[in-house]
């Protein structure tokens, strides 16, 4: 499996390098779907220039990256392209190794379950064969944003969690949270998985993990303070993420909503929107406590859809997971609709942007409508996968062809 992976990596790197050299890179790096005020590369350069001038990069409204990014790119500003390529490669390789490991475990569990005769007899066709269980992540996009680095950190977190390494998992999670607050929701999934792997008493485990996580987070925050010598990165980075002052259009749900609402209700709606991101953790982790990796996938999807400044980079991270659940295809109900809507929206985004900004004949509502549609399609995709997953689990426990008590065919309904 390593050979096709390396070949694919080489191809992806080549495509990316070619795209970067061509004029596409300039065009793409300006698009609002690809870069957000949090992750735009131009803003990183601006922040570095401000630092050179002696002005704090956080004194303006342009730079919202964490100090560690400043530190990293202070040395790597000339090699930005290679850094991002490397981050993408790391993401791909980490996801590949994580999924390989996960597949091995699933297969092993499946084997035990088969031997223990726990599956009903007519479910054999649902069993996954090793031949199906290969996975090659595909992520190539020539954007110039630090989203790649965030994705790399999350991928490394997933890898370390799947491998069962508690310390590394805590460290990478704290790094991911330090970059943007939302990966905090992944901690529940990590805890569930690690408890499965190495069972221990629940609270002791939680305490250990929390200790490691908080410790590394403190180290990061302290390091940032020492690097810059002042605390004003906290309101600029985290305050920015949470309070959403910048209403630059993006593919998220926040911008136009907050542009059109009454100031009186701003705080209320802000809280509602932000809680929305974190809220799904609890019910999802209760439902999916046996399947933490799927929980990670769901959480990533929820974060990418509901975060304050999403980009296609975040979406690509959870879409990269889809081939892992390829065996769920037979249970997906809306896949055609979803794919059509997603394709249509991707095509309409630049069109309506041009109509709005350059031609002046549309307005923000047009673009927001497409944004909404895009997000609805994503939600539909995610919930479809959720349904398919649960349905398969149900079938594995209760048999594939369900019969009612009177023998007639029954249908499953997700309640």
């Amino acid at each position: 499996m390593a050979a096709p992976m390396t070949l694919l990596l080489i191809v992806a790197v080549t495509i990316r390098a070619v795209l970067y050299r061509s004029g596409v890179a300039d065009l793409v790096s300006e698009r609002v779907e690809v870069v957000s005020p949090l992750t735009a590369w131009k803003r990183v350069v601006e922040g570095l220039a401000l630092l050179d001038l002696g002005v704090s990069p956080y004194s303006g409204d342009v730079f919202h990256e964490t100090p560690l990014i400043i530190y990293l790119f202070h040395f790597l500003v000339d090699y930005a392209e290679i850094t991002f390529m490397l981050a993408d490669v790391i993401t791909a390789v980490a996801l590949y190794m994580a999924v390989k490991d996960y597949n091995k475990q699933v297969f092993r569990k499946q084997k035990y379950a088969l031997e223990a005769d726990r599956y009903p007899l007519d479910c054999l066709e649902l069993i996954r064969s090793p031949g199906e269980m290969y996975y090659i992540p595909l992520k190539v996009y020539p954007s110039c944003s630090t989203c790649g680095l965030n994705n790399a950190v999350i991928a490394l977190f997933i890898l370390s969690t799947v491998k069962g390494n508690m310390l590394l998992s805590a460290i990478f999670l704290s790094l991911a949270t330090y970059q943007s607050i939302y990966p905090l929701t992944l901690s529940a999934a990590a805890l569930l998985y690690l408890m499965q792997v190495s069972p221990a008493t629940f609270w002791w485990f939680v305490a250990q993990y929390a200790f490691m996580y908080l410790g590394s987070l403190l180290v990061l925050v302290g390091l940032s303070f020492f690097l810059l010598g002042f605390w004003d990165y906290l309101p600029s980075v985290y305050g920015f993420i949470l309070s959403v002052p910048d209403l630059t259009p993006n593919i998220g749900l926040f911008w136009d909503f907050f542009a059109e609402m009454f100031e009186h209700f701003r705080l209320f709606f802000l809280c509602v929107f932000q809680i929305n991101v974190f809220f799904y953790t609890l019910p999802l982790s209760i439902k999916l406590k046996e399947h933490p990796v799927f929980l990670i996938f769901m959480q990533l999807a929820v974060i990418s859809i509901f975060k304050s400044y999403p980009t296609v980079g975040d979406i690509s991270l959870y879409l990269a997971f889809l081939p892992v659940w390829s065996h769920l295809h037979r249970f997906l109900r809306n896949i055609f609709l979803v794919s059509c809507v997603l394709l249509a929206c991707s095509a309409l985004f630049p069109v309506l942007w041009h109509l709005w900004i350059y031609a002046g004949s549309a307005n923000s509502n047009f673009y927001y409508a497409i944004t909404l549609l895009f997000n609805v399609a994503q939600i539909l995709l995610v919930s479809d996968y959720f349904y398919a997953f649960l349905r398969r689990e149900h079938h594995l426990s209760y048999g594939l062809y369900l019969k009612r008590k009177d023998g007639s065919e029954a249908t499953l309904v997700l309640k």
Binding site: L50, L53, S59, G60, V62, P245, L247, T248, W255, E260
Partner: protein, 503 residues
């Protein structure tokens, strides 16, 4: 020249040249011997025409640079007796009683570096060999020391009185760079004054061009009657010359001629130290031809040895002018160094050179405000260059102290950043605007552009103005020039005509 003298003076000239030869061959020159020789020459120089005297001032003017240097240096350095033909207040020929035989030839190398207004840098090398000898008579000169043999043979074989050849690549931009020390046209240019003894000038010219094209590895053999002229008024002999009969002048130019390493290498070979020591080590072709302007030339002419012009010396000047354009736009003027320009540093002077100096032109910046030169030097010299009095920082390579402890000299010229002060206060949305202040030194006759990239922010619906289709109005920027406050606060002048006083 000799043909115009009467036969008696010609005989006397032959006699004195024989004396000179014997002196040179025996290598035991004493000043007394010189005096005898010059004593014989005296009546001839007195009977010389007025034109000869007229030649003197031009010679003097051009030598004045070295002369003034020596005068200046005399107050700081030990006086080194230098064997030049320039008139000197302390004429060495009369006071040196050294036991070492004074050689008849002398080699000096100089480099002038001048930072130009446009950010480019102009480097001008001059390697000058003076040789008190006579090529024109039938005596074959066989012992060559500093003077290159190939050129000596050319002079004697083709009875050349003066030879000026230059190879130039690029175009001298006078508007941006000012005046060059020695103007030269693009391509190859050759003009020669022949001796009066030449009978068939055209034939000699043809042979000369072919020989020169072999010496310099250039295609000067393309010079023929189609591109040769005989100017009647534009050219005068630059060396000592009696009568200017323009029949003996030929001028040709090959504008298509390209200068490359093949031309530079034989040019460097003519130098006494070659390219192994002294200033010539800096002449690396990969850097020299990577320049905006490159011109190398050879000038041969007879000059007077001293003020009385009793003896004639031959002067060979090899000059190389190069303008480097290492200026990257948008970054301001950069830092220059010998290493950056020539990819070499200097480690020693040419041992055969009697003087080896580097001059850095600091006339535009006497206080060291615009740029600083390091390593610093205390030696200064002044000279009249093209009618302009200019001040130079001087580096004497014959002094070991110039090289310092590292035993190598790498001159740095650092431009003090003209945009020294930038004050930028970025805006906070809905709180405060952007403020950008820049202290800029605008070079004369130039256009300065300031560009700012910006991003648009989406407004909330309450922030729209009633007529948003107007767009946004951007305020004007303020340009203020700094004047001393004493001028601005002078209220005496505002007593009468207050309006005009305040304008």
């Amino acid at each position: 020249m000799a043909a115009h003298r009467c036969s008696r003076s010609a005989l006397l000239l032959v006699l004195c040249s024989l004396c000179l030869f014997s002196i040179a061959e025996s290598q035991e020159t004493t000043p007394a011997g010189d005096h005898r020789a010059t004593g014989v020459d005296n009546p001839q120089s007195v009977t010389g025409s007025t034109e000869q005297m007229a030649e003197q001032p031009t010679v003097v003017e051009e030598e004045e640079e070295e002369e003034e240097d020596r005068r200046w240096e005399a107050t700081r350095d030990e006086v080194e007796t230098e064997n030049t033909s320039a008139p000197d207040t302390s004429a060495p020929t009369f006071e040196v009683h050294s036991s070492v035989p004074k050689p008849k030839d002398d080699f000096q190398e100089e480099l002038v570096i001048r930072p130009l207004h446009s950010g480019d840098i102009y480097a001008s090398f001059q390697f000058r060999t003076l040789w008190e000898t006579d090529f024109t008579t039938g005596n074959k000169v066989s012992h060559y020391r500093l003077f290159p043999k190939s050129l000596g043979q050319v002079i004697s074989k083709f009875s050349v009185r003066e030879l000026h050849i230059s190879f130039t690549q690029g175009y001298w931009r006078t508007m941006q760079w000012g005046q060059p020390f020695l103007p030269s046209p693009p391509g190859a240019e050759l003009w020669v004054w022949f001796q009066d003894s030449v009978t068939d000038v055209d034939e000699t010219w043809k042979e000369l061009t072919n020989v020169l094209s072999g010496i310099f590895c250039a295609s000067l053999n393309f010079i023929d009657s189609t591109n040769t002229v005989q100017p009647s008024a534009s050219f005068k002999p630059l060396g000592i010359g009696n009568v200017t009969d323009h029949r003996f002048l030929r001028y040709a130019t090959l504008p298509r001629e390209i200068v490359c390493t093949e031309n530079l290498t034989p040019w460097k070979k003519l130098l006494p130290c070659g390219s192994k020591a002294g200033l010539a080590v800096l002449l690396k072709s990969e850097k020299l031809f990577h320049s905006s302007f490159h011109s190398q030339a050879v000038h041969i002419r007879p000059v007077c040895k001293d003020w009385q012009c009793k003896t004639k010396s031959w002067e060979l000047r090899q000059t190389l002018n190069v303008v480097f354009d290492l200026h990257t736009p948008g970054q301001g003027k950069q830092e220059w160094s010998l290493f950056k320009m020539f990819s070499r540093t200097l480690t020693e002077a040419c041992p055969l050179a009697s003087s080896s100096k580097i001059y850095v032109d600091i006339t535009d910046d006497p206080q060291g405000e615009q740029f600083e030169v390091s390593p610093a030097t205390h030696l200064l010299s002044q000279a009249m260059v093209l009618g302009d009095r200019r001040t130079f920082s001087l580096y004497d390579l014959t002094q070991q102290i110039t090289f310092g402890t590292v035993r190598s000299l790498n001159l740095h010229i650092r431009w003090k950043s003209s945009e020294g002060y930038i004050h930028y206060q970025p805006s906070k949305d809905r709180v405060r605007p952007h403020l950008l202040e820049m202290l800029v030194q605008l070079p004369p006759n130039s256009v300065t552009e300031v560009t700012v990239q910006f991003e648009r922010a989406l407004l909330k619906w309450t922030e729209y103005t009633p007529d948003p289709n107007h767009g946004f109005y951007v305020g004007s920027s303020v340009i203020s020039s700094l004047v001393p406050s004493i001028v601005a606060m002078d209220t005496n002048s505002t007593r009468e005509q207050p309006l005009f006083s305040s304008l």
